[in-house]
């Protein structure tokens, strides 16, 4: 009887391993492909071999990327844009989310509802009017143009997340601080904000990734090569697959590795934040 149960468990574990291994291979295979392409010598980009580490592996594509292409310039542009979007998003959402969480004031419900509704806007809906606005304001081909558009995506979500997190922090802490003579702003700034650090991190990560990995808007607004952000630059390598596929692959790896590491470290917070934000409201 006990033996029977043991065998059953063994079989079930075996099936679990099998499924996990199959899906892990599916999950990492495309990434290994990119690695493989980035290491191929220039005359063997197009090959029908499926070996992951190619014969005559070389780092030539990486060298060409840094010395022969404006890759570092694109990276600087991406960092600049992402940094500004993240800083504004986090600062504004930290304050607005706090107000929505702690105070009952006129316009609160409408404010919260409109934040939620913006999440249902089709991705392209605000893009067209904003594009026309940017043309009229002369902001096409400027970083300010993309920064404005990105903050419209990032900010509503950030406010919503911050509010959800503040809701889980007990208000008795601020009340105690107020009794000790803190001003309202000091109670928020010195007591609540440090406790909300995990949420701030998630919101920062989200804003950063939004702008770091955005292609559709950047392709319309940034037209000069020297203003391109990484996604636009990388796309041109890929479009010309036969000659620059190696560059594309090398650049992809370099661009992905920092965000992937950041993401893996923070994914636990991210998920608890997401579920809190939507369940608890």
């Amino acid at each position: 009887m006990a033996n029977n149960a043991k065998i059953k468990k063994r079989i079930a574990d075996g099936v679990a391993y099998l499924i996990l291994i199959i899906f892990t291979i599916i999950a990492i295979y495309p990434i290994l492909q990119v690695l493989s392409i980035s290491l191929r010598p220039g005359d063997r980009l197009l090959t029908t071999s499926l070996a992951i580490i190619p014969e005559d592996a070389t780092l030539a594509a990486y060298k060409e990327l840094f010395s022969g292409r404006p890759f570092l310039l694109w990276m600087r542009n991406s960092i600049l844009v992402s940094f500004v979007v993240t800083a504004t998003g986090v600062a504004l959402a930290a304050m607005a989310g706090y107000a929505f969480s702690r105070f009952r004031f006129k316009g609160r419900n409408i404010g919260l509802l409109s934040v939620l509704v913006t999440q249902m806007f089709p991705a392209t809906m605000l893009l067209l009017p904003m594009y026309i606005m940017l043309v009229k304001l002369g902001l096409i081909n400027t970083f300010l143009g993309v920064i404005i558009i990105y903050s419209s995506t990032a900010l509503p979500f950030c406010i919503w997340m911050m509010k959800g997190y503040y809701d889980t922090i007990s208000p008795s802490l601020e009340e105690a601080a107020r009794i000790d003579g803190c001003t309202q702003f000091a109670a928020f700034y010195k007591v609540v904000l440090p406790l909300a650090a995990p949420a701030l991190v998630i919101v920062a990560l989200f804003s950063f990734m939004t702008s770091w990995a955005e292609y559709i808007v950047a392709a319309q607004v940034l037209q000069d090569t020297h203003l391109w952000t990484l996604p636009v630059g990388l796309q041109t390598f890929q479009a010309n697959m036969s000659t620059e596929w190696g560059l594309y692959a090398a650049a992809s790896l370099i661009v992905s590795i920092p965000v992937v590491i950041l993401f893996l470290v923070l994914s636990k917070f991210l998920v608890s934040g997401l579920t809190l934000g939507s369940v608890k409201g």
Binding site: L20, A99, M120, A213, S278
Partner: protein, 297 residues
């Protein structure tokens, strides 16, 4: 004095965010409504005028290729197929990861990778893998499985399947992580009690796992539906803007093409409004049905 300050404080906190939202969300939204009733295009960019419902009538009745209805149906297929596979694969993997097995955290980390990589890189990489002669997918099909190579990106049906496969790959980790969190919060006592009663694995899944996982999954599915419906990156980049011959659009990429490929601004604005209402009605019904936001605000 103090009392008045107290009332003002929330407004002061909200003011900066409100100003930005006003400028980058509400003003463009209203502007979009105006545009949708106008005849603006690249040709009359400066002398455009309000012309009434013409653009909306065009959205529904103009004999374009592909027509609005075809794209609408494709969008529905796209959303339903993607989210269904995300949930099934995600929950299945979460259940495997929830067992007492070795190497759990390594599997978990590797399985999250598709979610962690920037979407445009995923899309462009898969596009390369679908290449007819040199793409990895056809090489695997012909070299290992002895199957004929598939013209992934040159015929509409295959291209659409190719994009869906890409998006399934990209989206299952999110559902997996959410489901894993939900499973870990289910007390083991339920399963032990069921074991004593001699319940089968399927009965335990149906009567314990599913009902207790549901409240966790419903908000995630709602988000998943909205994200998938709205996901222009993958479809645009894998098919290189709707190739072949605009046969692989979903609604959001269809609008993008009308606006930035054909410069039909008024028409694109009207189409955007239609999509917005579809999404709004859909999400509200879904949330009401599932009571996901009972305490939302």
């Amino acid at each position: 004095m103090l009392e008045r300050n107290r009332k003002l404080f929330p407004y002061i906190l909200i003011l900066p965010a409100a100003l930005v939202m006003l400028g980058v969300v509400f003003y463009p939204f209203v502007y979009n409504i105006v545009l949708s009733f106008s005849n603006m295009s690249l040709r009359n960019f400066r002398e455009w005028q309000v012309i009434g419902f013409d653009q909306y009538i065009r959205v529904f009745f103009e004999p374009t290729e592909p027509s609005f209805y075809v794209v609408f149906i494709k969008t529905m297929i796209w959303t339903v197929v993607n989210v269904t596979f995300h949930v099934i694969i995600g929950v299945m993997l979460a259940m495997m990861l929830n067992r007492q097995i070795k190497g759990k955290s390594i599997f978990r980390t590797l399985l999250i990778l598709p979610w962690a990589i920037p979407q445009y890189i995923v899309a462009l990489t898969w596009r390369g893998m679908y290449n007819y002669e040199y793409g990895a997918i056809n090489l695997i099909l012909t070299q290992y499985l002895n199957l004929p190579a598939v013209e992934w990106l040159r015929s509409p049906t295959e291209a659409f399947i190719a994009v869906i496969i890409t998006n399934i790959w990209l989206g299952f980790p999110f559902m997996m992580v959410i489901a894993l969190g939900g499973l870990q919060s289910i007390s083991n006592e339920f399963y032990e009690a069921a074991d004593i009663d001699g319940a089968s694995a399927w009965q335990k899944f149906k009567n314990i796992t599913v009902p207790l996982l549901k409240p966790v999954m419903i908000p995630a599915v709602t988000l998943g539906i909205i994200w998938t419906f709205n996901n222009i990156n993958v479809i645009w980049l894998v098919t290189n803007g709707g190739e072949p011959a605009d046969q692989t659009h979903i609604l959001v990429s269809y609008v993008y093409r009308a606006a930035f490929g054909l410069y039909r601004y008024g028409y694109a604005a009207a189409l955007s409004m239609v999509i917005f209402f579809i999404l709004l009605i859909f999400s509200l019904t879904f949330m009401k049905r599932s009571q996901a936001t009972k305490s939302a605000y």
